[in-house]
Symmetry: C2
Subunit: 323 residues, 2 copies
């Protein structure tokens, strides 16, 4: 419940931060920050995956372990932080040794891949649930925040968006053809999203604002708008969608409103666009300008004919006719 | 599944720590530790409570919020650390506004009581589950570890033990009489355990080893023995039990094997026993010597007649005859 989540946290759990000099950033961004030493802050995020809610019931243990880490690594990417440590809280409904062995293997592989240490945790009895807390670090003053967007900034997204939501849609509607390589690609994007850690670290110092796309492009860009007190204009014909996406559907709503891609959405000053091209080449990640930050506190969607169209953040609207 | 938990973590999630100078202490104690600055370490623990497993289904939202924090605060106490920050991961099965309002109130009250800031978290859909991650701090080299016990140390426990397990037993067997003030006391000890934060901080620098009693005295003392490569002798007629406990049962097994009291079990050199008496008076917490650390790697239980009796860590054995 992505939007409800935001409202719930706002209503019941956010309040004036205590006057604590070690608390650098509290509730409201991709992660919190506490002071480490005179040059560095620790960056802290937590994300929980529940069976049947965040992954289909028959997802493999390795894929679940991967994704539980990936969504947290993505929060570090969105802050421009280097992931360092994780703790794991694992609720298990039964003592399936094979499942645990597979889960553990998937977890350790991914930890190694990103150079992160598992430092603690607990296992408890209960419906399958995986809660990972991650701790990263970032140079003081260099973290990427949702609140830093400036009017005139260009809005970018990394990679392609909508793949994961489209893969989930195929899966849930029993339309996923295992022999179809495009379908396989989309499912893999759902189960194995790539956290953009290297990109996030490079964007620290270049981008003005950043968020990872977990709730959907429009919802997450909305979070930047709210925290930065601004609006945005999005050119929907510029949204980067994959070939597999295009070959599977002409419905753009997955790219606009589907979550779970864990690409980065960020804003940069126009004079830094050149740096992004270099960065894109170095990292081998496409970076696509999809719009700009505007002063009016609204989201304007512009179609291929340059006309403003009405779109809604929630639900899957159909825009195929504009393609 | 307290014992299974330990085995699972050992088997699947512990491995050689990375060579990371900021990682002070990994898996295997009440909490992990990472370096803050030249004088201080951050101490990190996570504990999850699941409905029907860690609290009876009809437990009030305030009590659940209290306990979710208390078990984590207790981990800080066991390390001798000062709690500073928490993150909350909350899985909710429905959007019950009244429940959320009550939960939030209970959480905020307890945070204020202990001077701790809520800095982040997430809410997700799923069976009711509350995962709290806590971050405290402790002076470098001063943390209380499970691994520091020395042969000849006296073994102490704070407060009284077995109350919570006895309260739970009454509750689960429908024997709890709401008009009985002793039963109320025991249930309150279950729902509202007192994390011994002030005591833990004072013990840092006095005690050689420490753990909080969450799995039961014998199991938790066993963790100290394992990590300190030693054994212990326990005088079971010395176990501190409350008047309400004595008036309700003569079965000592709740005190020996029942968890959830969140008292501290710690070992001190004999020459520091005098300091404990002063500390006990200052804090208004009883501190009772229940045994000593021995070289033989076994747990010896001594009854009132000075004879060794056989007890088992698991299950509820009956020792009333010895009283």
């Amino acid at each position: 419940m992505p939007v409800a989540e935001f409202e719930l946290i706002q209503r019941y759990f956010s309040r004036q931060d205590k006057n604590d000099q070690d608390l650098i950033l509290g509730i409201g961004d991709d992660a919190a920050m506490i002071s480490k030493d005179s040059t560095t802050d620790y960056v802290i995020a937590v994300d929980t995956l529940n069976k049947g809610v965040h992954f289909p019931v028959n997802t493999s243990a390795q894929d679940i372990a991967y994704k539980a880490l990936a969504v947290n690594l993505s929060d570090m990417a969105a802050m421009g932080a280097s992931p360092r440590f994780v703790t794991l809280s694992l609720s298990l409904d039964d003592n399936n040794e094979q499942w645990l062995a597979d889960f553990s293997q998937g977890l350790m592989q991914t930890l190694d891949e990103y150079g992160v240490s598992l430092i603690g945790g607990d296992t408890t009895q209960g419906p399958l649930s995986i809660s990972v807390q991650i701790i990263g670090e970032v140079d003081k003053g260099k973290a990427l925040l949702r609140s830093g967007a400036q009017v005139g900034d260009k809005v970018y997204v990394s990679g392609t968006i909508g793949d994961a939501a489209l893969g989930l849609d195929l899966l849930l509607n029993n339309k996923l053809d295992p022999g179809n390589s495009d379908h396989q690609y989309l499912r893999n994007r759902l189960n194995r999203p790539t956290p953009r850690v290297a990109l996030g670290k490079q964007l620290a110092g270049i981008a003005h604002s950043c968020i990872d796309i977990s709730d959907g492009l429009l919802a997450d860009l909305g979070h930047i708008m709210e925290r930065s007190h601004c609006g945005a204009r999005v050119y929907i014909d510029q949204l980067p969608v994959s070939d597999s996406y295009k070959l599977t559907t002409d419905d753009l709503s997955f790219a606009l409103s589907g979550g779970d891609d864990y690409e980065l959405c960020f804003s940069v000053a126009a004079e830094n666009e050149q740096k992004l091209q270099t960065l894109s080449r170095e990292l081998g990640i496409s970076l696509t300008c999809i719009g700009e930050i505007i002063a009016d506190k609204e989201l304007q969607s512009i179609d291929a004919r340059g006309e403003q169209v009405e779109i809604h953040q929630q639900g899957y609207q159909h825009f195929g006719a504009e393609e």
